[in-house]
């Protein structure tokens, strides 16, 4: 958090000098007046300069977007970041040439970037924000794959009459499977194990 104190003959002058030093605009800062200052007699005797404290407010979303951009660049896969905000959920959509490198095997790298970005966002945010990082509609494709997988394994569970354990997944991927099989009365789903090995089990209803 950048913060400086500046002085000037009037409050306005002090603020302006602070903004010039920080190279920012008034709407992106928080200003506290420490001393209003005094004009004094004829502007000479007993005059006191005004002192203000100016703090730069970090925009969490902007910080996160530039974070993703610089990490992408360092990875050798420069990206463009598009931001969509919906209430407390922020979606960053990455586009670029070597996007496959950023997604990784089963979205490993993308999930890690998402987690790190979420940490960066919430360092600066006042309220807790959820971050989704997506590239080339990966999340949507993964969503479809997971629903298919869920249906197939539900069939298998019914056919064999045995519990089907899936591989460990992050919570939002498990949620997709839970909700995909919610309407199916013949199987039930639950999660087993502890993070990060928590996984779904589909079991037939007896």
């Amino acid at each position: 958090m950048k913060q400086i104190t500046a002085t000037g003959r009037t409050v306005e002058e002090a603020v302006e000098s602070a903004l010039a030093q920080l190279q920012t605009t008034k709407d992106r800062t928080e200003i506290t007046i420490i001393d209003e200052g005094k004009k004094g007699l004829f502007g000479i005797f007993g005059s006191r300069p005004s002192v203000v404290k100016v703090t730069v407010k970090m925009d969490p979303i902007e910080e996160a977007a530039s974070y993703l951009k610089s990490v992408g660049e360092q990875l050798g896969a420069p990206v463009n970041v598009e931001v969509n905000r919906e209430g407390k959920q922020i979606e960053f959509v990455l586009t670029g040439d070597k996007i496959a490198l950023l997604i990784g095997k089963r979205g490993q790298t993308l999930n890690s970037l998402q987690y790190l970005t979420q940490l960066v966002v919430n360092r600066y945010a006042d309220q807790y924000l959820t971050v989704i990082v997506d590239a080339e509609e990966y999340r949507k494709r993964r969503n479809d794959t997971l629903i298919q997988l869920a249906q197939r394994l539900a069939q298998k569970a019914l056919k064999t009459g045995q519990d089907m354990a899936l591989e460990p997944m992050p919570s939002y991927e498990r949620k997709i499977i839970h909700s995909a099989l919610m309407g199916n009365k013949r199987v039930k789903t639950f999660s087993d194990g502890n993070e990060p090995h928590r996984h779904i089990v589909i079991s037939p209803v007896k």
């Binding site: 910080e63 990875l75 490198l101 950023l102 990784g104 987690y115 790190l116 940490l119």
Partner: protein
């Protein structure tokens, strides 16, 4: 690679000036030793090592294009 680690870690900690990355090169492997200020340790490791794991995943993704195997250690 060192820059990548710094880019990832810097925004996560309170004392970015205390970050150090040392490189140990051997025949087939390169080990990056990351050290941060003591009070920032928790921030780069995280609950059950979640942050450390995420940092590693991203760093290893960058290393996949290289011949040598890459390791990231967090040291005090």
């Amino acid at each position: 690679m060192k820059d990548l680690i710094l880019t990832i870690v810097k925004p996560l900690v309170d004392f970015p000036e205390d970050i150090q990355v040392n490189v140990h090169e051997e025949d087939q492997r390169v080990t990056y030793k990351l050290s941060v200020s003591k009070s920032d340790m928790g921030k780069v490791i995280g609950k059950q090592g979640r942050v450390a794991k995420a940092i590693r995943t991203v760093v290893y993704a960058a290393g996949s294009s290289q011949q040598k195997k890459i390791f990231l250690e967090i040291v005090e």
